[in-house]
Symmetry: C2
Subunit: 387 residues, 2 copies
């Protein structure tokens, strides 16, 4: 049975699905969610999951603390999809451009508390211009805690205060937000804990500066998967965001915040040929199915475009996807690793653990959900895409 339009009504198995396709191990996912939720609950800090990795209502509702949120998104399209499902507390965690404010206001008109992000006076002016003082747009100031990307330097008190003053009273300053993107480069527990402390301290400092100037700053938001699992305390922080942890991936395993046994996402693929003298097995998962992400290239163990597992999800020797073309993946021993002489005949099914779960998931329009070590697809969950 090659049912390429599988739905919840037509369950099938990993042997019968059309390949390539995306497999989600629900037990691993739920274990990952429980792990972070328990950790943050113990630390007494709120959790605002980032839904950009999953882009699925079924995954989102398992991630959020309630059917109404809180949630973090990276596109207005995600916010619109969540709003359609009744989510009312959403932070859009990418710097706002003025042309997007019409969609922001449309969502707010539907009863969504949609908090936006900015890091400049010019953006604040644009927001204040369209905001209605009777219903002020909630705004977070983005902080640059580690030189990774956008944001005001947390010690730049004049700029923080200038933005706050421009926003008031037409818009509402809700607080500050930062993301320790450079924590992806941290190696070892001490470096991870330091990255988390740098992120926390940046947010706490900026909030203190703003409060000293008379702005209450009820939200102090930090987060990244590596720091969420590494912070020693959350003093001055009100909420933590994290996204990729829901599935984990080889980059996170390389950082050390999970093992390959925690990775809930994989790409199911079929062997379509060999080049035996090179030790190559050729599969039908290329970059359209895996993405071109090479996030482990700079880590201690280079996992290529993905780690090769058998149908039960167990890694097979040191086999990785070493080369990807559009619809071809070349499976071979990890460079420097022992060559595996076992041969997979044409038609053999394999599963590839992703380098970067967000990037791999983006290439697909649905999840085929299975239980841990199980073979049966228990559900098909659609993904949303676009902006």
């Amino acid at each position: 049975m090659n049912d390429h339009s599988a739905t919840q009504d037509s369950p099938c198995s990993l042997e019968s699905l059309d390949t390539p396709c995306l497999i989600l191990d629900q037990e691993r996912m739920e274990r990952n969610i429980a792990r972070l939720r328990d950790r943050l609950q113990e630390a007494g800090v709120a959790f605002r999951p980032h839904l950009k990795t999953a882009k699925s209502w079924e995954v989102s509702r398992r991630l959020m603390g309630s059917p109404h949120g809180p949630a973090t998104v990276s596109t207005l399209r995600e916010a619109e999809e969540l709003a359609a499902h009744g989510v009312t507390d959403i932070t859009y965690a990418v710097g706002i451009s003025p042309d997007k404010l019409e969609r922001v206001q449309r969502l707010r008109g539907q009863g969504v508390t949609l908090t936006i992000l900015l890091d400049s006076v010019e953006q604040a002016l644009a927001v204040a211009r369209v905001s209605d003082p009777a219903d002020p747009i909630p705004v977070l100031i983005e902080l640059d805690c580690d030189g990774h990307r956008s944001g005001v330097k947390p010690q730049d008190a004049p700029l923080l205060k200038a933005i706050a003053r421009v926003l008031s009273p037409r818009a509402r300053l809700s607080g500050v937000l930062t993301h320790a993107g450079e924590s992806y480069e941290a190696r070892g527990n001490a470096a991870l804990t330091a990255a988390a402390e740098q992120e926390r301290a940046a947010a706490a400092l900026a909030a203190m500066t703003l409060r000293g100037d008379g702005w209450p700053c009820p939200m102090v938001s930090v987060g990244s998967t590596p720091t969420a699992f590494s912070a020693s305390h959350y003093d001055g922080v009100t909420e933590v965001r994290a996204g990729v942890f829901v599935f984990f991936d080889l980059v996170q395993a390389g950082i050390g915040v999970c093992t390959t046994d925690d990775i809930a996402l994989s790409v199911l693929t079929t062997v379509i040929g060999h080049q035996r003298e090179k030790g190559w097995t050729i599969v039908d998962a290329g970059w359209t199915a895996l993405s071109c992400d090479r996030g482990t290239a700079t880590q201690a163990v280079d996992q290529g475009y993905g780690l090769v597992c058998d149908l039960a999800g167990r890694p097979v020797g040191d086999l990785v996807v070493t080369i990807v073309n559009q619809e071809h993946g070349i499976v071979a021993a990890r460079p420097g690793g022992p060559r595996l002489d076992h041969e997979f005949p044409v038609g053999t099914r394999l599963r590839i653990l992703p380098s970067h779960a967000c990037a791999t998931a983006t290439q697909h329009d649905r999840y085929h959900v299975i239980g841990a070590g199980q073979n049966k697809v228990t559900a098909v969950w659609p993904r949303f895409t676009g902006w």
Copy 2:
């Protein structure tokens, strides 16, 4: 107007589209198509366009010589979409796995001449097993002309003949096919011409070997964009395939088969911030909009994740996208190039020429079509995705 559900009925301009989104310059595309079509017509060889780059009916019908084909595809999903539009002559140019034969037969049952590809006796056995001698499945033997990927070595006469014998009489050997994938690494005209000659000679040799053994081999198919524009003759070849030339991209410009003025595809993006001390402009096109493809990294000019143009499509200094996160692109001077001190205010719209058009297009579900140098969207053409 931020109409994010733009259709042909609601034309809008590059200033009003929601960003990021994909822009297609129809005049450039049609010039690219005419250039290759004229070249092949003059050489007296048939053209079987590869539709994997476009994945759009509107583009496909402009690429094909007739509404019925011929066409090349990289997934059965593409074949099914084209068949639904009346295309009846399709080559599925990725090695077949036995589990896909049911879908192949379903398409053939709809009147499509769907020719499949293989490079082993085991695949030939699987095809012969399901093929009906009264309606034999047409098959091409894939050749490895340059060590790039799959295929039988063209000089491996015993294997070529063994495959032919296994296929007969239940399936039908239609000929041979090869793709000079390594031509992407060729630099300079002499190297490109040599790659094309190697591709041609491989196909011609294998066809001659098979004909000498009594197999007619009516199809002798070669192709890649670099070789399609570089071959000095096509002796022994019956058809040429090429795909990415329809849009071209920075990789092809780096190889030298086009200039940046020929690139028909771009991603429209909006400036969302700055890190001025680093010379960074931050835009809302990350890897979800551009892809993570870094195909120019090994070329003489590294174009990062894309070359930055103004709204009219003209490159702006030596600005490239140097870093991509999920929804952020960091625009800066090309490493080693002069820093550009001109500043684009928040809200400025830019267009990014893609590193690899196939990969960038895959990230989007539609093309916003414009005329050369024009600002108005004249049509919205949907793309199909999946397998």
